[in-house]
């Protein structure tokens, strides 16, 4: 069952926090403003929001990746 997973490039991430605003169901922010991503696969109903969050990152640090089939 393939899924898509969120991944953040920790070097590119500069704590803008827009991803957490656009996808609060899957992204939380730690006390310093950096993203805490849900480890679960992105549910189908949230795919559009996830893609918006990826496009909305000012440093393009957020990625949506296909995970290997389990």
């Amino acid at each position: 069952m393939t899924g898509r997973r969120l991944r953040v490039d920790p070097i590119a991430c500069a704590a803008h926090g827009i991803c957490a605003e656009l996808l609060p169901e899957l992204i939380d922010l730690d006390e310093w403003g950096y993203p805490l991503l849900s480890t679960h696969a992105v549910p189908r109903r949230l795919t559009a929001e996830a893609e918006r969050a990826v496009a909305g990152c000012p440093t393009l640090a957020l990625h949506l990746e296909r995970t290997a089939a389990r």
Binding site: P10, I11, A12, C13, A14, D30, E31, W32, Y34
Partner: protein, 439 residues
Amino acid sequence: MTRPYPSPADTDPAPAGVARLLSASLERPADLAAHLAWFGPLPSVEQGSPTLTEVVDRSGLRGRGGAGFPTGRKLAAVAAAADSAGCRPVVVANGCEGEPVSSKDHLLLEVAPHLVLDGAAAVATALGADEVVFCMHRGDPTIPWLRAATAERTAERITPRLVEVPPRYVASEESALVNFIDNGVGRPTTKPPRPYERGVHGRPTLIANVETLAHLALIARFGAEWFRAMGTADSPGTALVTVGGAVHYPGVLEVELGAPLGALLDLAGGLAEPAQALLVGGIGGGWLPIDRAVGVRLDHADLRAAGASLGVASVLAMPATACGVTETARIASYLAGESARQCGPCMFGLPAVAADLWALIYAVGDLPGVMQRLNRRLGLLPGRGACGHPDGFTRFVRGALDTFGDDFRDHCHGRPCRWAGQSWLPVPTAGDPTPAGWR
């Protein structure tokens, strides 16, 4: 000039005892002729042949640079990546020894540089590499020995080139070495891709610790079974270990893996004063309380089961007259200062935890609350950096909270120990925090 040296038995030149890497170290520097007379010549390796990789794999050799990754698997991965990329890989020998309490790589490069160079040459040929790079910290006093040894080897197919890396804690991390060699910036990069897939010049790169290469040079000569004759099934062979702290004869020893840590202390002349804990694996490793520690074997699996890790093999005996909380805080501050400052959780989280530790020492604020906050913050660090620095930091602090649990509780209740605030371990100061500090 002829030097007197005993030659190994004609029937079996393979070192029989624990002294393998250090078996020939009778004089410094060891010149090429003495090296060849003692160990015999390096058997010719067939260019691009998998034979050496298979032998190393069978030997069970694990990296001696801290991660302990099986070397055979690493060689196979680089070979496979180079195959599919259709290019020649690069070999990098890591002699930086970024772990502050360790001095084993320095000793090895001083007394047996030709073993290391043999290993690098053998691996380069086996992988079909066309470039060999030696990485050392800028200004390292061992560099002249390495240069002298390299200059002696005129028949070498590939002349290794030396790259001097900024002397920072994370600058000798695999991707940081690649970054420095390619771009002059000694900071880790985001993975994937890992160096074995895309490293120096974008090519698959093998990065091996110098001690690993030295063992490999002996495995190439004497075989996998010989290597496995010492050590444990999980961690075969011998290892160079820095033994220090409150022992009579601190120094670097070659020991059989699987030896109990107590035996290592005995080899170093025994404890010079009562000890409360051992720092195992350097500051990249962790603390173990002394009574539990002496029986733990110097073996990857055993140490992990004991809540520590082999890391860069070293054992430091911490005297009873030192404060575990203070030493932990000092090391935490150093590790925080050595963050490459590329990733948020590392550049903010590490100093925050260090500050919490100091707050516990100097009894500042609501101490149980500080403890809680410290624990919460530790949970936010692992896996959230581009390299393993925040993970190593967390393992180290968590190990300290476990080993010095009573001390931490006392500090929390406003009853710090007699030696709180005093320094024991010679912890270096962190370097230049600006981006120039890694160039």
